[in-house]
Symmetry: C2
Subunit: 206 residues, 2 copies
């Protein structure tokens, strides 16, 4: 798979409002279709149909199917869903309170559409470009968490980087599962246990 840089570039830059509107219709339609049918079965024709535009129009704004999912992912990232950890700094209470804020934050990220998010994460044909974008955001997030931990007096772990990595991923993925799994345990129960686990880990009492 060669990383062709132009594979995800839009074909035309909308200049009129109606064009921008069409572009958005395509994206929202795609979000629904992918969420409902999955990526493979979420055909471009279906997307066009749902968006109530012709396939031709679709291909004026997106050079190929992959580019649509990519745009969806970028949109998700740019909306700040993954990197709004700044406000966590504003809650300097107990360690547990901080962790709780972290977990709540993660849950908020997944409220929109867990099914779509799952597909974006698991089925998306990730180009090198996209992978890099995601990776850098991930790194940023981990760094933020790391700094947060560094500033907190109660945190006692061997290695801050590893700890930040571990808890970030653990919180993220558990939340992900919680929202996506149909027969998952109750939200509140699971949330409090998750918070406890992370808190106790960070507190470091052996």
């Amino acid at each position: 798979m060669p990383a062709d840089d132009r594979r995800l570039q839009p074909r035309r830059k909308p200049s009129q409002v109606r064009a921008e509107l069409t572009r958005e219709r395509i994206l929202t339609a795609a979000a629904h279709v992918f969420a409902e049918h999955g990526y493979a079965a979420g055909t471009t024709n279906r997307i066009a149909e749902r968006a109530r535009i012709s396939i031709g129009s679709l291909y004026q704004y997106f050079p190929n199917k992959d580019a649509i999912l990519a745009a969806l992912l970028i949109q998700h990232i740019d909306r700040g869903a993954w990197a709004q950890a700044d406000r966590l700094d504003l809650s300097p209470g107990s360690l547990k309170a901080t962790v709780r804020a972290l977990v709540r934050d993660a849950i908020d990220h997944h409220r929109d559409d867990p099914r779509l998010l799952r597909i974006m994460i698991e089925e998306a044909p990730l180009s090198q470009e996209l992978l890099d974008t995601i990776d850098s955001h991930q790194k940023l997030r981990v760094a933020q968490v790391r700094d947060l931990l560094a500033r907190h007096p109660d945190v006692r772990v061997r290695d801050l980087d590893t700890a930040a990595n571990l808890i970030n991923f653990t919180v993220e993925i558990n939340t992900h599962r919680l929202m996506a799994d149909p027969h998952a345990p109750a939200v509140e129960t699971f949330e409090s246990e998750l918070i406890d686990m992370v808190t106790r880990y960070l507190a470091g009492s052996e």
Copy 2:
């Protein structure tokens, strides 16, 4: 997607040795092809080519492509990779030792071929039958872990079921990531931190 019971049944039962051999060639070839190309791009023709048999033969043993992945998954499960937790009972040492055994166990499950396992988990078109099989195994595993926790004097958590669920998933998924992610942190570091997190959670010192 209707859950057609016959969708995954083999088309012919091998009676001669060479037939059984062919069946195995197909499965190993499929494992390689899926691991390398993913499920969608892992075409049946490619599998047949790699197995050095004709597509016709392939379809004599598997009614469709999905059935091949299903067989691979069943194979993986039947090899006991997901439910050999019995031996954990044999390590009645400290809580940390028990947890360590749990984590090591998980790591062993993923040694074979993380890439293939990822595809089986994330891309497999899971029929209801398969889903049920997996689910029951999962439940069994969680129950085993639950009993393990129940028997250990140092475990202090609000709800054993939730705890078993949480740590089982967390250990599993973190291991999964550890093995699959190319630029993941060092194994030993991550392992010990993961063990600490779970242990401290279970010990329950607030």
